[in-house]
């Protein structure tokens, strides 16, 4: 690749031939203001916000559509550029309703930010503003405010170029020009809510998150989507110990800038449940609360006497949890059958852009940790055939998940001992002899290994309810009872142990995973 040398604001920058000025500047840490440019979409060049001065060129040029060339001298802060930016902002705001106090984008709006940085003047527009469609529902996740739209066409290009579903388009001309659906259609594709993220202004907002929390109150935790084994990088954004939304985090190795709609809203089903806050034990007449000592004692004494045992772990459990779970059950009985919950479904072409066919974000990691003998389906059929006397299920409501729910119920009823560890009293847990209250994906720390073998960090965004315990802690307490005490049962320490014992993970450190993960060979 040919190298090109140029200067941007006097700074010498080297880039490859074919790179645009806006990209070259970004590589050098200089952000040129822009709206329509998006690194993952084709160039539209319509907003004019990225104007820069280039030596020997009589007019200002748009940085998003000008290629960097040898010896080019670019100014992004010259008086001419600053004046142009101010003028562009004034034009963009001519028909804008200036309704930030009631706009959900406020606080993360590029119009607000650039106004403060580059405009900062009162409107001189004395004429009547052009009115447009307000609050038009485009689809299940997207609502449109035509008066706030700056016609950057990011949304249109996303739907043409990424999903290729082509729902939105630019209609009409001049100051009547706006974004619209073809009459009678809706915007409903598996990635639709991404256009709310890339709309730089308050024209497209998320129907679910809208008006829930002002964005500046959100606490943002970098984590991993628990929706499937693609392992999209997300920011878990919470307020008052509840998740308000998921946002994608950029990771070119995994999800680029996107997440799917199913993943984006999957936290409701996982966190909006009535929590159990004490262990439960079955007595004459049903499940009653008990203390941890009694519950854990019963688990060990009865499980070891009721062989053969099967253990089913959720695909949302971390590698560290899987590692201890395998250790525990193998210690209880070398013949124990272990599996991580894993089922596939059919995906549509658009879903395939991002989604994996399962709902088990860490099935691969759990298998690497030894929580797998010969697959989930064979274990399920053996369970239905009554081949086990006891079972230990973690975090998965098998009665609900599996199509043969009624058969599963009959099979579980015949077990002499069933332990369920979960956040809530699921249908499956109602059949248990002991129920252990645990935590959800957003309350724990650890690692997931995605379908392609990338190890990524899950970080706690929420504080679990008093009474529930970390899955990792529960396993280590049980291990202590079978004579295998874990010295320090923190995710970091367990990960070190994994890095010593599990071949493909050898030599890794918890710290090296960072925010974007590390790849193990496939």
């Amino acid at each position: 690749m040919d190298a090109v040398k140029l200067t941007i604001d006097g700074k010498e920058v080297t880039t490859t031939k074919g790179t645009t000025v806006i990209q070259a500047a970004a590589e050098a840490g200089i952000t040129i203001p822009h709206y329509c440019y998006h690194p993952k979409l084709t160039i539209a060049g319509n907003c004019r916000m990225c104007l820069v001065e280039i030596e020997k060129m009589p007019k200002l040029q748009i940085a998003c559509n000008t290629q960097a060339s040898e010896g080019m001298a670019v100014e992004t802060q010259s008086p001419k550029v600053l004046a142009a930016r101010k003028a562009v902002m004034e034009f963009l705001l001519i028909n804008h309703p200036l309704d930030c106090p009631i706009c959900d984008q406020a606080g993360e709006c590029w119009l607000q930010d650039y106004y403060m940085q580059h405009d900062l003047q009162a409107s001189r527009f004395a004429e009547g503003k052009q009115h447009e469609r307000k609050r038009e529902v485009f689809g299940p996740h997207v609502v449109f405010d035509g008066e706030r739209c700056i016609k950057c066409t990011r949304c249109v290009r996303f739907l043409q170029e990424v999903t290729r579903t082509d729902e939105l388009t630019v209609v009409d001309r001049g100051d009547h020009s706006t974004i619209a659906l073809f009459p009678g259609t809706v915007l409903d594709n598996p990635l639709s809510a991404n256009i709310n993220d890339i709309c730089p202004v308050g024209a497209l907002t998320d129907r679910d998150f809208r008006f829930r929390v002002r964005v500046w109150y959100l606490q943002k935790t970098p984590s991993i989507c628990p929706g499937c084994s693609t392992g999209c990088n997300i920011s878990v954004e919470s307020y008052q110990n509840r998740i308000a939304r998921f946002k994608p985090r950029i990771n070119e190795e995994v999800n680029s800038h996107w997440i799917c709609d199913e993943g984006r809203y999957c936290f409701y089903a996982l966190t909006d449940v009535e929590r159990i806050t004490a262990p439960l034990i079955r007595q004459e007449g049903g499940l009653v609360p008990t203390d941890w000592k009694t519950a854990l004692g019963a688990v060990i004494s009865v499980l070891s006497g009721a062989q053969p045992v099967c253990g089913v772990l959720s695909g949302r459990n971390t590698n560290e949890e899987a590692f201890l779970f395998a250790k525990l059950l193998r210690r209880l009985s070398p013949q124990a059958r272990l599996e991580v919950y894993y089922r596939e479904r059919k995906l549509t072409e658009v879903e395939k852009i991002l989604k994996s066919p399962d709902r088990s974000p860490n099935f691969r990691g759990a298998r690497d940790m030894g929580v797998s003998d010969d697959g989930f389906e064979p274990l399920l059929s053996d369970l239905l055939d009554g081949k086990f006397r006891s079972a230990y299920f973690v975090g998965e409501d098998l009665l609900r998940e599996v199509a043969q729910g009624e058969k599963v119920r009959q099979a579980l009823k015949k077990l002499s001992f069933l332990v369920v560890q979960d956040t809530h009293l699921s249908e499956t847990a109602k059949l248990a002899h002991v129920v252990l209250p645990a935590v959800n994906f957003a309350e724990k720390e650890g690692t997931y290994t995605n379908r392609k073998g990338r190890i990524q960090r899950l970080r706690p965004a929420l504080v679990p309810p008093a009474g529930a315990r970390q899955d990792l802690e529960i396993f280590s307490l049980l291990l202590a009872r079978v004579g295998e005490p874990i010295r320090r049962a923190t995710p970091g320490e367990i990960f070190l142990e994994i890095a010593r014992e599990v071949p493909r993970y050898r030599g890794l450190t918890y710290e090296s995973i960072g925010n974007l993960g590390v790849q193990i060979e496939s």
Binding site: D166, E167, T169, V170, V171, D172, A180, F182, G184
Partner: protein, 157 residues
């Protein structure tokens, strides 16, 4: 009523598309053909064109709304299109439009009850040196004054 080209239009469609290296490039002439066939471009007509062109209805819709000579509603026998872009506006287009509105008793975007005239405001028709101007069906009328408008409307049958 199923919207579909007549066998004759079908032949013309094939000829039009054959004349372009990329099918999508033939969209405008195909839309003119469709408008000629169907009178105007209803939602069904747009859907039909999208299907035979192999592109999304949204894209066709975008083009139809951009070009003011493509109509999504039935129009009168004479489609009066007054240019409203800057040079014409500066030379008095607004007054001409107001005059026609009063004269015909309709608003912009409406058709006279006898089905004779439809009035539209359109963007620059590339005759800026002779504004104010308007296009009626395929003919240009330039350097308009109220007197000339009266004259033109009288002559149009």
């Amino acid at each position: 009523m199923a919207v579909e080209f007549s066998p004759e239009a079908r032949k013309r469609f094939a000829a039009i598309v054959g004349g372009y290296p990329k099918k999508e490039a033939a969209l405008l002439p195909v839309l003119f053909l469709a408008q000629e066939e169907f009178g105007y471009l209803s939602g069904e007509a747009i859907d039909y064109v999208a299907k035979i062109m192999g592109i999304s209805a949204a894209r066709v819709y975008s083009v139809v709304t951009f070009y003011t000579m493509l109509n999504m509603k039935p129009i009168g026998r004479h489609h009066i299109q007054v240019c409203r872009t800057l040079p014409c506006a500066l030379s008095g287009a607004e007054k001409i439009t107001a005059f026609i509105k009063a004269k015909l008793g309709i608003d912009v975007g409406q058709t006279t009850p006898d089905g004779k005239f439809t009035l539209s405001e359109v963007e620059c028709l590339a005759s800026c040196g002779t504004g104010p101007m308007m296009q009626v069906n395929d003919a240009y009328y330039e350097n308009l004054t109220e007197e000339r408008v009266v004259e033109i409307l009288r002559v149009l049958k």
